[in-house]
Symmetry: C2
Subunit: 299 residues, 2 copies
């Protein structure tokens, strides 16, 4: 089964206590795809500008990411500049240049329109909604967003939530959208907005999964040295969706395994700048760490 991810492909400039990098390949869709590719073919739907390095395109193609619907438009590629301090749990955005992202209209090939597994990574809810309209028979739709849209396009986001199966949010977003402090209450509040599954990412504190029939928490994998958390959430989503697509029925058992693999891939992501670590990763390394993670949960 193939997976469609709509989101951003960006040039990221990042500073962390461990160092800094300029104009790295980044963006929500790119990080998602770099993680999900281990489990399923990933169709990336995004836009870049005329300034986007051909090397980055080639790099993603070599990793097996399907770039048919990666548009190239006149103008500048979306750029994000951020800094992490202290415990590195929150990024401080220093600068954002939307560039071609401000005129982005996603388009799918006829083949992609028939795909069943969709991840709407963080972009304008109107764009996410438009992509969803163009799909004929989606089977599992997951959505990520961010505080900016929760504040500025709340109505559109809430309308969109009725059409998705899984809402993926970090703790701050879950609290902001639900108005609830307790994460379990927040998850319950988000469930009421439509999505039958809610996944709240708590960074180094792991994940809370909520559905009507079952709830579970799983911890993060303890990473010895965090280098750069950029893209960890999208890598998590990529691992999660990738695992679900690659397999079996969506039930308590497969969802927990999906969260486990997502956790493991996110833990690799933070061990290097940008995609340094996830792009050089092997499936063997992923399985190895998954087994270690799983063993540690047996009590």
């Amino acid at each position: 089964m193939s997976l469609v991810v709509l989101g951003t492909v960006a040039l990221d400039t990042v500073k962390t206590p461990r160092g800094s990098r300029r104009d790295m390949l980044g963006g929500s869709a790119a990080h998602f795809a770099m993680a999900a590719r281990f489990f399923a073919p990933v169709n990336l739907v995004a836009v870049v500008g005329a300034d986007f390095p051909a090397g980055h395109i080639e790099f993603m193609r070599k990793k097996g990411i399907v770039l048919t619907s990666l548009k190239k438009e006149r103008g500048q590629t979306f750029r994000w500049e951020g800094e992490y301090k202290g415990d590195m749990n929150t990024a401080l955005t220093l600068n954002t240049e939307l560039g071609v992202l401000s005129v982005f209209r996603p388009e799918l090939t006829p083949e992609q329109e028939k795909m069943k597994y969709i991840f709407l990574a963080n972009v304008d809810p109107d764009i996410q909604s438009r992509l969803l309209d163009s799909l004929r028979t989606p089977k599992l739709v997951a959505l990520d967003s961010m505080n900016y849209w929760i504040m500025h396009k709340r109505k559109q986001l809430i309308r969109l939530l009725k059409r998705v199966d899984i809402f993926v949010a970090n703790d701050a977003e879950a609290r902001a959208l639900s108005g609830e402090h307790s994460l379990l209450e927040a998850a319950r509040g988000l469930r009421k907005l439509g999505p039958r599954m809610v996944l709240i990412k708590k960074g180094e504190h792991g994940v809370l999964f909520y559905s009507d029939n079952f709830v579970f928490s799983l911890p993060a994998y303890p990473v010895k040295k965090v280098i750069d958390p950029t893209g960890a959430g999208d890598s998590f989503a990529g691992g999660f969706m990738g695992y679900l697509v690659s397999g079996r029925a969506v039930n308590r058992k497969t969802l927990k395994k999906a969260v486990g693999y997502a956790t493991v891939i996110a833990s690799f992501n933070v061990e290097g700048f940008g995609m340094e670590r996830t792009s050089s990763l092997t499936l063997k390394e992923i399985h190895g760490r998954f087994q270690a993670y799983r063993r540690n949960l047996i009590i």
Copy 2:
């Protein structure tokens, strides 16, 4: 095997978004004992004032807590008044009256001096140290502290840490004492101060366990409705030490089970004000929730 806990017995006045209570039975040693009693006889070492209700004494005695070394001194019982807001993760201390705690000198019976399992709950490190001096052959010593002592009696605390096996701290305390932001780095830093095991409690985010040979994280049990978090950390420590005393060797397997039982008892603690829930708890309820918690961790 018996367990000795040194700490406070207090009268707590608490306000949370769910309501408020005045002069409840509380304190670190009392909460610890109320949790640990399910697994082992608990010898409580603390002091109360002349104003301490006889009913509270009777209540603890009926729960099987050994009160031989609970002193009664002229003066006022230690009182704490606090409020929890929002996500209830942190208590706002409104008032503290030390009362008889300021002149407390713990004394053990000859029988207690021979006991092997010791929990030094949060009191002045000088008092903790004095108790430790009076023990003849302690086998497993665990210590809790708080930011006040980390700031005001840092030297004494650091000297004391060389003599303990397990240091139990919440995330803020671990960061403050180690000077490290990342909790894994913090745990490693605390390990270097002496204790061969470090347990960092992260409230609703669960626990990180650190030792030279292994590290693990376990999530909190998702509680539907948090009423009052007061004493959750001490209940956790009580469940943890109680489980270790009741059994077997201290190894990776038993430590994880101990953290599991600790997590479960702490989850009951927050479901009521003060000890409302832990005092009425049954071992059957504890085992039941432990099995549910454990099952949810199988991935």
